[in-house]
Subunit: 351 residues, 3 copies
Amino acid sequence: MGTRLGELVERFGGQLMGDANLEVTGIAPLTDAGVSHISFLSNSKLRAQALQTAAAALIVSPADDEFIAAGYSGARIVTPNPYVYFAKAAQYFYSLTAIVPPAGVHPTAFIGEGAQIAATAHIGPKVVVEAGAVIGEHAVIDAGCYIGREAVIGEGTHFFANVTFHAYCQIGARGIIHSGAVIGTDGFGFANEKGVYIKIPQTGRVMIGDDVDIGANTTVDRGALADTVIEDGVKLDNLIQIAHNCHIGAHTAMAGCVGMAGSTTVGKYCTFGGAAMINGHITIADHVNVGPSTMIPRSLTEPGTYIGYYPMSRPAEWEKSAVIVRNLAAMRDKVRALEKTIKTLTNQEEK
Amino acid sequence: MGTRLGELVERFGGQLMGDANLEVTGIAPLTDAGVSHISFLSNSKLRAQALQTAAAALIVSPADDEFIAAGYSGARIVTPNPYVYFAKAAQYFYSLTAIVPPAGVHPTAFIGEGAQIAATAHIGPKVVVEAGAVIGEHAVIDAGCYIGREAVIGEGTHFFANVTFHAYCQIGARGIIHSGAVIGTDGFGFANEKGVYIKIPQTGRVMIGDDVDIGANTTVDRGALADTVIEDGVKLDNLIQIAHNCHIGAHTAMAGCVGMAGSTTVGKYCTFGGAAMINGHITIADHVNVGPSTMIPRSLTEPGTYIGYYPMSRPAEWEKSAVIVRNLAAMRDKVRALEKTIKTLTNQEEK
Amino acid sequence: MGTRLGELVERFGGQLMGDANLEVTGIAPLTDAGVSHISFLSNSKLRAQALQTAAAALIVSPADDEFIAAGYSGARIVTPNPYVYFAKAAQYFYSLTAIVPPAGVHPTAFIGEGAQIAATAHIGPKVVVEAGAVIGEHAVIDAGCYIGREAVIGEGTHFFANVTFHAYCQIGARGIIHSGAVIGTDGFGFANEKGVYIKIPQTGRVMIGDDVDIGANTTVDRGALADTVIEDGVKLDNLIQIAHNCHIGAHTAMAGCVGMAGSTTVGKYCTFGGAAMINGHITIADHVNVGPSTMIPRSLTEPGTYIGYYPMSRPAEWEKSAVIVRNLAAMRDKVRALEKTIKTLTNQEEK
């Protein structure tokens, strides 16, 4: 099962140099591609490697095309961003063989009163949909998922097996929630009376836009009073914690194990490396990039990159440096004292 | 649906200045409250804002009451801790509209032999209760939960959907376990024979007191031989890892992503910021507060606050500082050499 | 229920000094053991304590045996590694009383078309096994697990309740996957077109060897094109994230909360402390040991230990040191300036 190069160009654009009727059966990296594949050159440093590929066709950028054309005899699709073209083509090849879950509710699912399930939606085995929930057209809810009361799932959104999506929360169209994710759990809100915690009811929702992906075992708390908000196009990896009343701007991406404390607003088009930690009650500007294992304690008003983690060493070196780090103020004071003494000495010299 | 101010004062105390028959429909922050709401002033810095609130009534502290009384025409409830009062009132308002799950076992649940389920308990769809488990009065076990063999769930405790609570573990009264949490998984215990790990059976339990909340996707390991213990009133946020044989003292709270290695004892009334990490086989005193992203490598015998994470910077600055941090011993040696040289120079000067 | 000392020695070796027909009912640490127990001395520092144990028998090393023999009247099993012997004996005692789940498919499970389930396997309540999956002899799949299409589960492997194991992934024999773990979720792979993320289909698998343990709520992503691989004997604790296309060498162990970014290869016999973070696209040699809370940014070609986390302090000290850490380049420049000035001064002195 495959497709014609002409079909790809009709769907995803690009300038075809070669036979539109050439069939390709899949897409693969330069070194893995076989003679029935199309491949792609997304990094100009791999130009020489590209000439060696067995692939029947190559996706190349205009900048690389002259070089490739001179040494490669297969077909070419010229497009400004070959990696994006690869992603789109890969999705298309994937769709040709993907097993589409059948429309309808599996007999072992439990559907609460008044839940509205679109005719084209798939509800898998052992799913529980509570009363009044709304599930859109072509949504796919895999086995064992829990959809809370009056929750709303948009068109074409896919929940993998064993997602928990709590009452009144909403997600838009074309989203993906991976297994074990928990959306809409109570935020961590308490008043403290003489040492004893008193729970503050968490009555807000989680409101998720379109085209949002949420990773496996990631948790997103519902708001305390107002809502927790995740805007369109946000991508969250696995094992991320988003606390109550956070707001994540559109097209921001967070890698695995990130934590975000409560009532923080992150801008649009930001990226967060793995295990980055974000303090509560702060605001991060648009287009901020945070490195891995970095703690962001305060608001960031300027776009750009921020990073800070302790450099690893061998234990003996680390132990030495860690002791000094703890007492850096003492070293600074010594340097200051030295500067003063030397100033005195120098003055004496000059006299 | 709402309540009279008099009803609130009867339930939660405080001195009412105003009409006991005034009806309020809910509680909201100063700026969000409408004319049918009661609001609260828990931070004296917001006094001026409080005078602008639309709320029909205000909860205030004795210290703020004179100021508020002078400028605010609504009713007042005077109480030492308005934030605690807010929490209690919010719980009460929440209870007025909350949908109480019906008593009884859902027909799609599976109940093992000899399990004892109180008549007033709710067992939701697709729940599995293994043989010999005991579930107390008014407990609520939502859809998809798994209760292991001979586990014990106390009165009024609430498991949200998809909790896993393993065999022989126990939780007391009025607890909450959020979705995806796993209680009583095997601890990470192995002997090593020539590089190969040999599992040590984990035969202890997890014993949880009353009024304990455990967050979504948090994991608590059962003890190896003795039990893992969580005392009354402990509050654990999401995605926390508690290893085998840990003991957490009463009314301690941990924010999201905290990790606690095995056989560690944490005292009472402690707090841990997000992603704090606690070493194994140590003891933390009562009333210790640990900052976010802070690693605690050794026992802490003194109450108070401890913190330590690398300060974020711009990449160029961080790279410079990280290189120096790794070689701080070299800088210290240079400073020492300078001190020595200067001492010699100064002595020569003095001669 | 117990066993004879002779039975232990027949099963696990060691030289028995005492009555082979002596019955012991269990194994316990030195101080906990009662008169019907066997105990073990795995740390020579506890020799004196061993003499005080109530245990009827002791497992000791050849190095400790002379000392113990002189002062302890019970039976002894002499073996090179008493802790390993303890683990094996504990497993055996555990097996004597463990409740073995019955072979067969629970009536509330759902089994997809063409799934092959061995006659001796146990499939618990509410389990979902998708079409074409293969489950080996004596495998135990506890309640609520999800086994994806054409997944393969090896002989004697045990999934605790509520594991999610996705389509086409494989695990070998004698493995354990703990509750809430998600194996084979999509990797976090996107192309970016003008700020908008475009998903790259993740079509690789997760391939897991024999004797692998995976902790509760741990997530392992499937490969993008090639597979994510976990070799024999690997032990992963709870809440670990393994990204797509990682490769973990045999007999490597990772403690809780570790994160591993994509396309990284970790060698054999490595250990990672809790919350260690491993960068993507790097290679870690065999026999590397990483400390807790340590970020590994680059490949490690040498075996040995690596560590680096910020030392905790009291807040006032940390704030001072953190400010200086951020500006260490300034301090270094001052020290250099001092060195230069002093060199000049010293030269003048010498003239």
